[in-house]
């Protein structure tokens, strides 16, 4: 749109327009104090306590003694739990790949072919993301219900299976993937494609060698952006698998709701974050590359 183009040219003009100045108004550092204090008490505090709990020993019902007891972590090695960890990571990977397969062509279409309706399409992508996650999962459950039309007339009876969970993951996280992918496609210089085809490249070759290469960092960023929360997913398996195909998040929740085993739940939480940290590091790597590369 006109607006987007205008800001693009402004961004190009930035270095030239900026001159050296001694003036740098700064706001006092104490303005960070309230939020710093807040994070320290209500985020870092609970996190530290979580670590302490994971190393504590459960003594009967509801009482525990702090220490350095790694038996809870050993318990995770049990095949019952390694299965759930593996399932969570596999499902999140499948969900992310499906999201790419569904979302990339849409983002491509928006960036390449839309002009007047680009903002409208963008809004259509954003609206589902901001409407309640829970309501959307419920809406999906209605459609997939074994007594509903899809099951009766199309033979698609997948509610309470892993397929429903996969559909739910794609359905809920699609907008989150499309937005950054669209942003990186939007920065693409389409004249490069024109030049390549003028020089005799077939459209598919031009796409593979130019578009895909230039937008890959954006795609990876977007994929990890959905993969990371998918691994911590709680609502989708809870509703769409009816408790039959649980993720690590559900098992963590059970330790606090039903099993009353907070130390084990804490150890599972730490293990989940450990598994995730690898992907977070990859995400940060690509996100910073994307930033240097783009704009």
């Amino acid at each position: 749109m006109a607006v987007a183009e205008q800001t693009d040219t402004e961004a190009v003009a930035t270095p030239a327009a900026r001159r050296k100045r001694s003036f740098r108004p700064r706001y006092p550092a104490w303005l960070t104090a309230p939020s710093l204090l807040y994070y320290a008490v209500f985020f870092l505090g609970p996190m530290a306590l979580l670590v302490a709990f994971s190393l504590a020993t459960q003594r009967g019902f509801g009482s525990l003694s702090y220490g350095f007891d790694i038996s809870q972590y050993r318990l995770i090695g049990n095949s019952l739990y390694t299965t759930i960890f593996a399932r969570t990571l596999v499902m999140a990977s499948i969900g992310s790949l499906l999201t790419i397969a569904v979302g990339y062509p849409l983002a491509y279409w928006m960036a390449r072919y839309l002009t007047t309706y680009k903002m409208l399409a963008l809004l259509l992508v954003v609206v589902p993301f901001w409407t309640s996650f829970l309501i959307r999962t419920y809406a999906l459950k209605i459609i997939l219900d074994p007594n509903g039309y899809l099951a009766k007339y199309a033979g698609i009876n997948i509610l309470y299976t892993k397929y429903a969970v996969a559909v739910g993951l794609v359905y809920n996280y699609l907008p989150l993937f499309i937005l950054p992918t669209f942003a990186s496609l939007e920065r693409m210089d389409w004249t490069l494609i024109e030049a390549a085809t003028d020089l005799g490249a077939r459209p598919l070759t031009a796409f593979r060698q130019i578009t895909l290469r230039l937008t890959l960092p954006g795609v990876i960023t977007g994929a990890l952006l959905v993969f990371i929360p998918m691994t911590g997913e709680y609502i989708i398996p809870g509703i769409l698998s009816g408790g039959k195909y649980e993720f690590v998040g559900n098992v963590i929740g059970d330790q606090f709701n039903e099993a009353q085993n907070p130390p084990f739940g804490s150890a599972l939480s730490i293990a989940l974050m450990g598994a995730l940290s690898v992907f977070v590091i990859i995400y940060i790597f690509f996100a910073t590359r994307e930033e240097q590369f783009g704009a």
Binding site: Y39, F42, G253
Partner: protein, 306 residues
């Protein structure tokens, strides 16, 4: 006569399929808000109002049984749902205000701080965004229970603990949105104000704050939506308090009537309007960028991507 589709037509067709996938379930849910209970359950029911039929006897409501609009009034008078919605609204309003104030202060100071000092703060902010919500929820539960054990002045599990736990994530998102806008604005106008003899406080009030307003409003609206829709944190730190997502989740798992569809439809409508307002506000903030400065935050900033 079959003709080969051009690439553009192919992509357009795919886009229509994807938008149908995104919107069809929501649309069906909204349509089923007007659905009658199944014929057999209506026949077996002796009351005057068929929307008084309880969830256990409503029959199959995932197929169309006929039109009624009585679920809307049934939903709006429901003794469980309505108080829960009011609770959620209260928590979300306070959470939005606290998160925006915290985020604003941090954004102002951090934006022009040396990277060396800023980095640790940023690390914590990103950590609050990537730690799975379920982990934050159970960690907060442990923390609040312990805090209550040791300090009796600390609030028991309930509205205030939901609020305290939710503000962590919301403050981070608010800070990122406001900071993106603040960095994007540049400091030329502030410099001009200083040159013309305006003091720091007057400059902030008359120059910086009005230009930050779109981002502040957007941050508050988004924080509100987040908090209102959040299920996972309240599910663990609620004590005996019911929020709307909590009653919705248990209804979805253990049985409901189309009254839930009716309430969800009302709320969807409100959310959609809020999103459109936010988009318009953000777009306005985009247009107002001073020439020669960095890009203003777009919709990507709106969802906390930057």
């Amino acid at each position: 006569m079959p003709k080969r589709l051009s690439a553009k037509q192919g992509f357009t067709a795919w886009a229509l399929v994807v938008f149908a996938f995104l919107y069809l379930p929501i649309l069906v849910m909204a349509i089923f808000a007007f659905n009658k209970p199944s014929a057999t359950s209506v026949a077996a029911f002796h009351g005057a109002n068929i929307c008084d039929i309880p969830p256990t006897q409503v029959g199959n409501i995932t197929v169309w049984n006929g039109f009624t609009s009585c679920w809307f009034s049934a939903g709006l008078h429901d003794p469980t749902y309505i108080p829960a919605i009011v609770t959620s609204l209260q928590i979300a309003a306070v959470a939005a205000i606290i998160a925006t104030v915290l985020g604003l202060g941090a954004a102002l100071a951090l934006a022009r701080m040396k990277p060396r000092f800023r980095a640790p703060f940023d690390a914590v902010v990103y950590l609050t965004l990537v730690v799975p919500e379920i982990v934050i929820a159970v960690a907060s539960l442990i923390f609040f229970v312990q805090a209550r054990n040791y300090f009796h002045a600390f609030p028991a599990l309930g509205k205030s603990t939901i609020l305290l736990a939710q503000v962590v994530f919301n403050a981070s998102v608010a800070m990122l949105i406001i900071r993106a806008r603040f960095v994007g604005m540049g400091d030329t106008l502030e410099e001009a104000a200083y040159d013309l003899g305006s003091g720091p406080l007057a400059t902030f009030r008359q120059v910086t704050l009005p230009r930050l307003m779109p981002a502040i409003v957007a941050a508050a609206l988004l924080s509100f939506t987040f908090s209102f829709d959040d299920y996972v944190i309240p599910a663990f730190v609620n004590g005996t308090t019911n929020t709307w997502p909590i009653v919705l989740y248990s209804a979805v798992r253990f049985g409901l009537t189309p009254a839930v569809n009716a309430l969800a439809t009302i709320m969807l409508t409100i959310t959609v309007l809020a999103v459109i307002v936010t988009a318009i506000v953000l777009r306005r903030s985009r247009v107002q960028v001073t020439p020669g400065q960095e890009k203003a935050p777009g919709l990507d900033a709106a969802i906390g991507l930057r």
